[in-house]
Amino acid sequence: MTLPKHVYQAFEDVVGAVNISDDPAVLDSYRYSLAHTAIHLGPFYNTYTPRGAAVLLPGSAKEVQAIVKLCNKYRIKFKASSTFWSAQGYPSEEDTIQLDMRRMDRILELDEKNMFAVVEPGVIGATLQAEAMKVGLNTHIPGSGCSCSVLASATSYFGSGPSNLYGGCYYDNLLGLEWVMPTGEILRTGSVNSTGSWFCGEGPGPSMKGVARGFLGAKGSMGVFTKCAIKLFAWPGPKTLPVEGVIPAYKVSLPETFRAYTLAFPSWKAWADAAHLIWDTGIGYLAHRQFNMFGRDLKFAMVKILTDPTKTLGDLEEVLADPEVQRITKQSERDFQIILVGMTARDIAWQDAALDEILNRTDGWKVEAMNVPEIHDWVLLYLIRLGHKNLNLVFSGGYDGAFGLLGAMDYGAAHAEEAAQFKKTWEKRGAIVDAGGDCMMGPIGGQGGGGTGLWENFTCFDPHDRESVEGTLEFFDACTKLGLEKGWGVGMEKWNSVARGSDGRTTPKAERDRMHLSAPQPSVFRYQHKIREAFNPNDLGDAYYETLEDE
């Protein structure tokens, strides 16, 4: 559909002619290929999200409000996104107005004393971190990396990542927010509404955080968040990261109070025990099973390639043939990375001693090959900035997570190995990268710093290769079947299939209802239905805000 001329003109009057387009080529740069990676619902070869009716680039909350009011007036669906890196940020239905929030990219406030920042949607983790470090603070960065919008991660998704352990995930860290509600009214939550300051996310009155975010974030389906305050935490390092090295092997040498260790364990039980002990002792700044995303068999070879600017993927087989690489690979099968940061010399000495005791109790060890300076300093930079997350897609451009979800770290002992071995058999069929079966990665510490982990088993494929895509989908279907048979539940591979189907469009209601009714807590979706009715009476979002209407 082309918007009627008078409607297009009405939108243009809000944002100006240079900030709106309905040129088909522009609109096609705002579609998402579900062949490439569907973020937990596909992949589907040669399938795209629907083409929007127009793309708008609002420059202020006032403009967003005017756009939303026009959408209500003309009954046009709308969806806002900040960085457009996952299928969730794209509409599920034709002729949706797409709001690209990148012009609203200011850090409005950085309150050193009260340790928070107020940001607009276009602010990404890297820019906020760079500014926060100048005043001795740091921000959590989600597992999807520092290219992602801070506001979107905090308001519209889970926002989990390596620094959950010390800094808390974005959901934890969300303070107040400014919300252009689906009807076009503006709501400011927390202390900002009564005092004008953003220091507190709640009150007076009932919390609106759950209402605004919904289950796992509103995913662009319930109005537009135009500002939020985010909690920051201590950064005892330099004001600017002193980065050295030849691209892409950038590295950073930080003070003596910083450590980057790769820990490995003789069993999954020991691995999980170590995580529990780390939480109990309260040590650690970041912890993540990171480089295993390349696969148990490939991870150390990939680290060797990534830390050597003269090497490429084409050197992989030669590196893998090195007996020393094979030895380290074997040594680090069940591993994770942890960064210790001491606020003082005494603090880091204590953390080091505590970690040694944890390793002693669990029979774990430090993988010394990961401690040579050129790798140690690369790991340190990698995990602190989290600016290489596109390595998820390094092999051929497509990846998606299988199995996994949020849960106790004991999943490792319970069924991670079984899932890995299951994947390994599928890897041999050729559709997905043969990486050793265990490609599980995720933070060692979920919500609130500990008690849970979040994991997914990376599955890499070629989005340009129909057989690879279809073989991957077949594997994911098999994962779901296995998960249900074993009582593990549906894994990440189908996480968003409740909202968007194989044609890139909204899943039929009957199918959505079936999935929501079989969820562990269907009442969550009943509650969200009531919220949607109250806050979004014209239903101008999409099914990523999950609702159940069965009563």
Partner: protein, 423 residues
């Protein structure tokens, strides 16, 4: 290559938007975090590398058609290559700069061109330069200089001035300084004078592949007739054309930028600076000398898969990601000049911000080009430097025009100008 040869890349681009930012590891502030001028200015996804992949796919699949908007999307790319560097922090099997070039070629082949670019091509074909100047005056900058004129005279080394240094009266002094310095060092140098022709590099970056090939062929023939084995230039664009674009067409001459030559003289102890130049300066890496200044490596191979679905190449494909560009020679020269204090901007070396003059943008989109230059000038001023130094006349021209329009209060020098002051 043709646009359809990039169809796999169009699918394999993961739309992560790394192409819009400097490498994240290198970010030092919110203010100077962006790398792509066109998406920073026009904002729509389509003006970034990821967006241009999508636009190219849309055109290839006939889901959209040429339009004024499509022409703008393609021709506002300066082909500065910053996207390419950031993409390749993580990816080994995408070539966004090559794809965008191919997209430009395809538009030109389809006659989706801009009047301003057509005027340049007319000047190129008629006058052998892209500045609408008579070819008979090309060598006038060297009038009065005691320098051999090839091919009638012979010399070991050819100094190629390039269009900008030949005709731009504010910048001709750089070419004069270069020749005088080389001669004073005992180098047997000559010029082609009025027989010199455009390198073709700038029209290549506008999408005119045939015209580039034609002028590359002409230049290589002139060099062969004159017995040229080494070409030295003070223009980053010419350097890139000769160093990277000519070898696949058969050129085997050695190519050096003046900064490489001068650094070599300093290292050999042949050049010593005697005068103090008390000045705080910052250095701007020209795209074509820095990240695109890596040497050409021949490759003729094919894609293959290992480990099921890992894409590699047989034989290994050379990787151009800005790692080995010409960054240190100009800095080493500046550091060796007594009195000069070099302070760095936030975006440097392989992740340097473009001056705004590339890809035909200066000619076709002057406001956007000026904005891009002004962004760099703001970054330079933030260092506290008195002067912005570079090694490319196109960058220097764009900066000078921006400063003159905005009154930014910053001096612009070529590295050679400071070398001359220090002798």
């Amino acid at each position: 290559m043709a646009l359809k040869d990039f169809a796999a890349e169009m699918d394999r681009c993961s739309v992560c938007s790394y192409c819009k930012w400097i490498p994240f590891d290198q970010m030092k502030s919110w203010r100077f975090a962006k790398n792509c001028p066109s998406v920073a200015y026009y904002n729509f996804n389509s003006y970034s590398a990821r967006g241009r992949y999508a636009v190219a796919r849309s055109l290839l699949n006939e889901q959209s058609e040429y339009s004024d908007t499509v022409r703008n999307i393609v021709h506002t790319c300066m082909t500065c290559g910053a996207c390419d560097v950031s993409c390749k922090v993580c990816r080994y099997n995408l070539e966004p700069l090559e794809m965008v070039r191919e997209l430009k070629f395809s538009l030109v082949e389809a006659e989706q061109v801009l009047d301003q670019h057509e005027a340049l091509i007319a000047s190129l074909n008629q006058e052998h330069n892209i500045l609408h100047k008579p070819k008979s005056e090309r060598g006038a900058w060297a009038d009065g200089l005691d320098v051999a004129r090839l091919p009638s005279e012979k010399a070991e080394i050819l100094f190629h001035a390039g269009c900008r240094l030949s005709y731009d009266e504010d910048l001709q002094k750089t070419a004069v300084s270069a020749v005088q310095l080389l001669k004073s060092m005992g180098v047997d140098v000559g010029i082609l004078g009025e027989k010199e022709m455009c390198c073709g590099g700038r029209v290549y970056s506008m999408g005119y592949r045939d015209e580039f090939n034609h002028f590359a062929d002409l230049n290589m023939k002139v060099w062969a007739n004159a017995g040229v084995k080494t070409v030295v230039t003070a223009c980053a664009d010419c350097y890139h054309a000769f160093k990277r674009l000519y070898p696949p067409l058969g050129s085997q001459v050695e190519v050096l930028h003046m900064v490489e030559f001068i650094e070599r003289l300093i290292q050999q102890g042949k050049l010593r600076f005697r005068s103090e130049v008390p000045m705080t300066v910052t250095y701007h890496d020209p795209c074509h000398l820095g990240r695109q200044g890596e040497p050409y490596v021949p490759w003729n191979g094919v894609e293959k898969k290992i480990k099921g679905q890992i894409i590699v190449y047989e034989p290994n494909k050379p990787r151009y990601n800005g790692a080995w560009g010409v960054y240190d020679p100009p800095r080493n020269i500046l550091r060796s000049i007594p009195g000069v204090k070099l302070v760095e901007m936030e975006r440097i070396r392989e992740y340097s911000w473009c001056c705004g003059a590339g890809g035909g943008v200066r000619e076709a989109y002057p406001e956007f080009s000026a904005w891009t230059a002004a962004e760099r000038i703001a970054e330079a001023k933030a260092t506290g430097a008195e002067a912005l130094v570079s090694a490319c006349p196109w960058c220097e021209r764009n900066f000078m025009d921006s400063i003159s329009a905005t009154g930014a209060g910053l001096q612009v020098y070529d590295v050679l100008a400071l070398v001359e002051k220090a002798l």
